[in-house]
Symmetry: C2
Subunit: 384 residues, 2 copies
């Protein structure tokens, strides 16, 4: 029940009113709460159950009363708009989009193992897939008088969350072109897999920016600002950027400004089964995993190797999106795959790898270290 009275404790402890979580989640940080499902549960379903969807919170989970909730839309030269939850649900067409969301830090633990980074030690499951329902951001912006003919200097859509602590609130932004082009299907979502969005995932309204890093999929959306500049939050201006491996904490300051904020993510894949240390008695081994790419680029192939990448074979693509023929440029959902690989006689140890190819024929790099960066984002080398 989302309408519980905020207990007195919450005034002292900003984390006193956190939701209950599924016990199977692997917790990477308790406060704020960050957790991922176990790898083998991740590939059990094309649609990740809500209670197993990875959770990436930067701040305490806010308690929002749906009856008084408002979404404000402001911008220089615009007549401000204020919408209730009911307005969102009734004044705009409803759309559903099956989209995978991935944290920029997914697989950070592997990068940190090569050389330390600063950030949560995510395994391979800071990624999940859901069917989102809501309204197109483009339709809501049109109601505020913003369409592709009338953007002028308003080049960025700043998305402000209602999650905050004593000195900051969460905020991020996307370029206005992405927001206004309905091909991109950017949603203000009020449903996740057929139910209200759970509190951990942004109740009552979150932004879903298909194909774009989790950090821009702002949860608990309270305000949208159209502006000439990107959001000035640290999450837009400093974190969630990719730097050269030579940039360290002594030199990074001079690179923030000219390094673009991560938006679309690169091609990714990982092996969810078998786990390291599994004893294989058969003459063959079955591998399972996921593959995904940003920007709506579909997965055209997944290759697997059991000899460390010397030889490869193609995986079988298991689960396709509900729509059997999405355009290769609107492939927002991940691809689950499996492969049965014969084990040559005399083999004592398997050295598993996978790599995916997306519809622009981009591939994953062989190794992690050349892409090392001090924040440990964008780990997408061959998974082992």
């Amino acid at each position: 029940n989302e309408k519980v009275t905020k207990p007195q404790a919450a005034l002292d402890d900003p984390f006193a009113n956190e939701p209950t979580r599924h016990p199977a989640l692997v917790v990477r940080s308790a406060r704020p709460f960050n957790a991922e499902p176990p790898a083998d549960l991740l590939t059990a379903n094309f649609i990740t159950p809500n209670e197993l969807f990875f959770t990436r919170n930067h701040l305490p989970v806010p308690t929002i009363d749906p009856a008084t909730y408002r979404l404000e839309i402001v911008g220089e030269g615009l007549k401000p708009v204020s919408l209730s939850l009911q307005d969102l649900k009734t004044k705009f067409p409803r759309h559903t989009v099956t989209a995978t969301i991935q944290c920029a830090g997914n697989r950070r633990a592997e990068m940190s193992a090569e050389k330390p980074t600063r950030g949560l030690g995510w395994g391979l499951a800071a990624i999940s897939n859901a069917e989102w329902a809501g309204v197109y951001l483009a339709d809501v912006l049109a109601a505020a008088g913003v369409d592709s003919e009338h953007t002028g200097q308003l080049r960025h859509v700043q998305l402000h969350g209602l999650d905050r602590d004593t000195h900051q609130a969460y905020s991020a932004s996307i370029p206005i072109d992405r927001a206004l082009n309905k091909h991109n299907q950017v949603l203000l979502a009020y449903e996740m897999n057929g139910t209200e969005i759970p509190r951990d995932h942004g109740y009552p309204v979150r932004v879903v920016v298909p194909g774009v890093v989790g950090a821009r999929n702002v949860k608990w959306l309270g305000k949208i600002t159209l502006a000439p500049e990107e959001s000035d939050s640290i999450w837009q201006r400093k974190d969630y950027k990719g730097f050269c491996s030579s940039v360290d904490w002594d030199t990074v300051d001079k690179y923030y400004e000219n390094t673009p904020a991560i938006q679309e993510l690169p091609v990714q894949s990982a092996i969810c089964e078998p786990r390291t240390g599994t004893l294989i008695r058969d003459k063959e081994v079955t591998l399972k995993g996921y593959a995904w790419s940003g920007g709506g680029r579909g997965i055209v192939r997944v290759d697997v190797s059991i000899d460390g990448g010397k030889t490869w074979q193609m995986a079988h693509i298991d689960a396709l999106p509900a729509d059997p023929s999405p355009s290769l440029s609107q492939s927002w959902a991940w691809t689950l795959w499996s492969a049965i690989v014969p084990i040559p006689e005399g083999t004592t140890e398997l050295d598993l790898r996978c790599k995916a190819v997306d519809s622009s024929y981009n591939v994953q790099p062989d190794t992690i270290l050349p892409g090392w960066n001090l924040r440990g984002v964008l780990t997408n080398a061959w998974h082992r």
Copy 2:
């Protein structure tokens, strides 16, 4: 003069009427003519001079009289349209686009050196950059009654060249979404760098599909067919597809149908200077090269290494497109870069590498062999 009388010899020898070419071009095949500029000339100019632009001909160069030239547009349920060159130049708005075109086989020689492939032995210069002028394909299709609301089953735009031999003519296709969305700036070009398009590059009209493999940038365009299917040419259905390294000439037949034709190309970069074998006497070395990615994704960084990829530093971005602020999703032109790298004392040999990062943070893979494919396309590993 394009109106020369076709000599009698041409009736016997389909290559008797080929244009004159620049002597600096490195010829990979004389008939049909395929050639690339020397690497150091490639990076001398942001805009490649017409006479140095790489040439990829699949068939003899046709001789086309501009006075009688027609572009036919047909498709089931459409009223056929026939346009003269004058119609194209006067009935539709003129647009210019600076776009790099790259052959899918660029850098094939490196892949073949690892393990033989079938195809022309391109070095690193089967890529060039020009300013194209012409009309939007979307505008011409609209005149034929095709817009995004009225495509129905017509999902592909087949592009037919006027180049042919005794048993086939060149043809390829692009998805209709790419053609109709003007953001993609697909051109029917009649000018290249301020002059008529030279015969080797498609006189009088070629298609320029920014961000998409050269093979779809059909030259000597004579007919456009809107159809439910892709072009049935070998260049669409068999060549210009990327396969797993395990696929060989005995097994490839069963993979053609389910492997998507290459459209957008992956992120690419190469070192054009210094060449292998150069003696460096200084305490530093200057590297120069290009970087580019398909799909309009801009280059956000180029990293270089002189120790085989153990350590990296950022290159300086030299030449920007004429428009100083293209959207990162409409970056059709390449990026030229340079880097001055200090040489540690005692170094006897440099092991140069470069790798680029595009706006979706896709990167180039470390090595070539895992991406080996029997036709030798899509070589984009770190260049050395």
